[in-house]
């Protein structure tokens, strides 16, 4: 049983200042990314503002179609010391091969500018990268490869921006297979995320 009579003074003092320490940690947590990167909260807010416009009532983007958030980046000012918080969000829409760049002013909490460019290179969303790998893993022609190398096989993805028609989705993901410090020269695997097809050579 705990005897309060024996409770040391230092313990009482520690308990008294504990809330102040928690407050300090809370402050550090919210500033744990450098000032030149948008925080998770800033990205969330920027996306809400951007997607309210991009996916709003006047948008022609339907919920069923493939539309991915790619990245958020803080835009530079003329000097690093600035109170400007402009975030550029990149999205990719399969239909029409459109890359959207939407600029959000976090200080004003407003969308400043949003532009869709046809056939403009952008990267893959993490979900797309994983989907490409999953499609390859499910392909029967590649089972011998996965069985031969097992966990030693590292799969890397690269996106090649090509295609004869500028308005058809450019989502040809090239897979690289690495064993230790070397890359396998074969097979050549290209996953087309637009058609969910796997090309194996």
């Amino acid at each position: 049983m705990f005897h309060f009579r024996r409770c040391p003074t230092w313990l009482l003092a520690w308990v008294a200042v504990l809330p102040l320490g928690c407050g300090q940690l809370q402050g550090q947590g919210s500033g744990s990314v450098p000032a030149y990167e948008p925080s998770a909260d800033e990205i969330r807010t920027a996306r809400e503002l951007a997607e309210r416009q991009l996916l709003g009532p006047e948008s022609d983007i339907t919920p069923q179609e493939k539309f991915y958030f790619i990245k958020a980046e803080l835009l530079p000012d003329s000097q690093a010391e600035t109170t400007q918080r402009l975030v550029m969000l990149t999205y990719y829409r399969y239909q029409g091969n459109l890359t959207y760049h939407t600029m959000v002013d976090l200080n004003a909490q407003q969308v400043v500018q949003s532009e869709g460019k046809v056939n403009f290179p952008c990267g893959l969303a993490p979900e797309e990268q994983q989907l490409a790998i999953d499609l390859a893993r499910a392909d029967q022609r590649l089972q011998p490869l996965f069985e031969q190398y097992g966990d030693r096989l590292e799969i890397q993805t690269r996106l090649s921006w090509e295609g004869e028609s500028p308005t058809r989705p450019h989502r040809q993901v090239h897979l690289l297979f690495r064993i230790g410090s070397d890359y396998l020269t074969r097979p050549t695997v290209i996953v087309d995320l637009a058609t969910s097809s796997v090309q194996v050579q």
């Binding site: 008294a16 407050g23 918080r85 200080n107 690269r158 921006w161 890359y183």
Partner: protein, 408 residues
């Protein structure tokens, strides 16, 4: 001390409540009270630079010159220079030279037409650096407390600065910051050098592994840089095209001349490097001069294997059109970071005289695979591609009143 626990518990509770109240009151108010904004949201304060290096030269004597460089790292672009200032002497103030400078894109098309990679847009991260990267004289840097080191700082002897029969000889020094983008099979080393005489070098090195399935296929590495030159501040800068013309237009074939004209007639646009013209782009301050009455300037001097021109991509927004010119100049506008869109930015045709300008420069390399890149061995390609460097320098022009580091 207490016969019954409840007075102590009450005391502790009051102290905790007091502590929480103190914390709550200490939170700064929302800087922009927007009734339609998200309640409780507060943007990060943006006025803190995290990574700053002040390097004095020479490193083995009293300070003569110095650089102050702020840098950051980010996915995709890798190592970015946020700002850079130069000090010509201990008595002088810092003069800004650069704003945001970065590798704007790395475009890698193969001779067969496929694949075609835009490796900055792909958002790769940086390699973690080790002592083996830094070498015996380098220093590993992290861009945030407790983070993995992804940047190396080195102080290098840069060789002969000048040599003269009577004036003697002087060797120069440079502070180099570099990092390496982990682009799957490729590694792109991006390097920025800040010289003791105020010059700045930009280089990109391509190394790693030749691409699987195309190990012996020729391809291009386009290192496409975006350079926000802020010569003595962001305003009052103008851009000129500098060309060597030979033979002289006067008809005398033994004569030549230097022709300096407003870049693209003073408006946003592009220009080409022509080897016989030794083409340079000059960023000049429109008002400030040195003691000899010459405008402060920097010359962008190319070090090129050749000029890259690419025609793939397909209409209407053919991003490979960014290779149509070797130099582009635009006015500095928020959000214009993507080299692939530079022609689109330049189409606005705004005035680039006496304003805040951005110079865009493609430093291309042609990689023709060779035995030194590696060999086929048992189903794998074994070896590492020796690094191929491409780059340019910003050379100070009339920043000094006389020969730097020359006391005679």
């Amino acid at each position: 001390m207490f016969k019954r626990p409840w007075p102590l518990l009450l005391s502790i509770g009051m102290v905790i409540a007091l502590g929480l109240l103190t914390v709550t009151l200490a939170q700064p108010p929302h800087p922009h009270q927007n009734p339609t904004g998200k309640p409780g949201f507060k943007p990060q304060p943006g006025n803190k630079h995290l990574n700053e290096i002040i390097q004095e030269f020479p490193t083995n004597d009293r300070m003569r010159t110095a650089w102050k460089v702020r840098w950051m790292t980010t996915r995709g672009y890798g190592l970015v220079i946020q700002d850079a200032w130069f000090k010509k002497s201990p008595r002088e103030d810092w003069m800004q030279i650069l704003g945001d400078c970065r590798l704007g894109e790395a475009f890698v098309p193969y001779h067969r037409g496929s694949p075609r990679f835009w490796d900055v847009s792909y958002n790769f991260g940086l390699h973690t650096m080790t002592a083996a990267d830094a070498g015996p004289h380098g220093k590993l840097l992290s861009d945030r407390p407790g983070g993995e080191p992804t940047v190396v700082m080195e102080l290098r002897d840069r060789g002969i600065m000048y040599k003269d029969t009577r004036a003697g000889v002087r060797r120069g020094q440079v502070m180099v910051l570099w990092a390496a983008l982990n682009a799957a099979n490729y590694v792109y080393v991006m390097e920025y050098g800040f010289r003791d005489d105020g010059g700045v070098t930009f280089r990109i090195g391509s190394t790693g592994h030749n691409y699987s399935g195309s190990e012996t296929i020729g391809h291009m590495h386009n290192g496409m840089f975006r350079i926000d030159v802020n010569l003595d501040g962001k305003d009052n800068n103008t851009v000129e095209l500098v060309e060597h013309i030979e033979p002289h237009p006067n008809g005398n074939k033994k004569m030549a001349m230097t022709k300096v004209t407003p870049f693209n007639n003073g408006f946003e646009g592009g220009a080409d490097f022509q080897a016989e013209k030794f083409t340079m782009v000059r960023i000049r301050h429109t008002q400030k001069k040195n003691a000899r009455g010459e405008y402060l300037s920097y010359d962008l001097v190319s070090a090129r294997m050749g000029n890259a021109r690419h025609f793939g991509g397909g209409r209407p927004e053919q991003s490979e059109e960014c290779s149509e010119h070797d130099f582009w100049v635009t006015k500095n506008r928020p959000g214009e970071l993507y080299y692939g869109a530079v022609k689109h930015y330049a189409r606005r045709g705004e005035n680039i005289r006496d304003t805040d300008v951005v110079v865009w420069y493609n430093a291309p390399g042609h990689h023709e695979p060779r035995s030194e890149d590696g060999e086929f061995r048992g189903g794998v390609f074994n070896g590492v591609t020796p690094i191929m460097w491409c780059g340019f320098e910003l050379k100070p022009r009339n920043i000094w009143d006389r020969t730097p580091f020359h006391d005679k």
